[in-house]
Amino acid sequence: MDVQALRQDFPILKRQVNGYPLIYFDNAATTQKPCQVIDAISDFYENHNGNVHRAVHTLSLEATDFYEKSREKITKFINAKESSELVFVRGTTEAINLVAYTWGLNSLCKGDEVLVSLMEHHSDIVPWEIISKLKGFTIKYANVKNDGALDYDDFESKFSSKTKIACLSHVSNVTGIINDVKRIAKVAHDHGALMLVDGAQSVPHITVDVQDLDADFLAFSGHKMLGPTGIGVLYGKKELLETMPPFQGGGEMIKEVEFSQGKGCSVSWNEPPWKFEAGTPNIEGAVGLAEAVKYLEALGMDEVLSHEKALTKYAVERMQECSKVTIYGSGDLSKKCGIIPFSVKELSSHDVALICDNYGIMIRSGYHCAQPLHQEILKLHSSDRASFYIYNTREEVDRFVEVLKEIDQL
């Protein structure tokens, strides 16, 4: 992978921040966009914009073609069986909420159990907490080891005949640790439970094959994989999506709304995935995401992961030269994506991020939407996080370490 060449595709990387060249190490939050994605969105609006489905004019048909071809492209990217298994949503959060509010609200009741891990992002905890208050089921939390790795024994021991769904991040958004979701999916299915995989941090970085994982649901976001914000995907097995009720009501998600005097309206639902896509969807978002997928496929996902692993290994080694820096998470870099959580002795995470910002380096500070992991496992008030993607370089890591060394001297 020619990183210097591909950097030319990202206009934002040419800018300066506070008088320094931009170094963008906040990729776990969102990624930058190549001109191919920006151009695809512009082209859609400049030449093909219309509302999708149920019209006969040229622009609507073109827009529909773009939208549905985008769905097909992404379907192949995650190796789903068919495009009807792929629902466009706003992002991972909405995808998990969709499952909680449709499948969860209708299938779970008092006495049932939902199993999640303590390393989950809030978006894989809060929807279940909300629905559990309405339905009275129990949420069980599987432990995480001190090094941030999933405690598989604890997770597996918490399954019972009461467990209806297990929810697990494929890759932790705090530590970058890759979880063996295939293993957990098998245990879930052995207990008659479903498996929901939060793929927000995996789909952008590693090859994800939903059939191989045997995931019942997979959620991910477009903006974390070079695509635009406001578009994401819920993958669901066809037989599940067919039995689930709609998420929201409106146009597109209905087959018929038949009115009869005295009885009101009789409504029948559209087929999946449109049953879950009420109203005008984010058409240009889908187009942009498909272009992002095309870009990643051209690079090769193995190359993407290999680049990130090499950069992470290099960064971890170099960061250890800084005496006040503590790096969290497993030392086994073979099971990690390009995320490094760390702290600097005697400084708050926000101070560290502000100092880096002063030098044009963007890192994230705080809980990273994973407060339980910080409080219960890492025992931290907050942490800093550097996260890498395809356009990051060793030279950028060197500059970052220079700044950390300056912080070391404070």
């Binding site: 926000h350 502000l354 809980y367 008030h381 907050s382």
Partner: protein, 89 residues
Amino acid sequence: MATIEDYVARIEGTCGEEKDVIVVFKYEKKDEAIAQILKKAQLKNAIAGIIFELTFQDTSFRLYSSGKAIFRSIKNREELNQILKSILL
């Protein structure tokens, strides 16, 4: 008459247990804001010319040359507004 809105672009609560508050000064007014703050606040430490540890009216905070300040132990927005008003105007 000048207001704090003339200088402040945004106030953000930070994520994490610390509950710090970040004040972001408007880019075009940041140098003026920094000069004003350095004139009124008590300087405890200046680090590499980019971080200034300051105290003003018993409130400790850090000011960054990029035009951001991080305040700790602020009870509420009113208290912060009062401090900003006193130090900026």
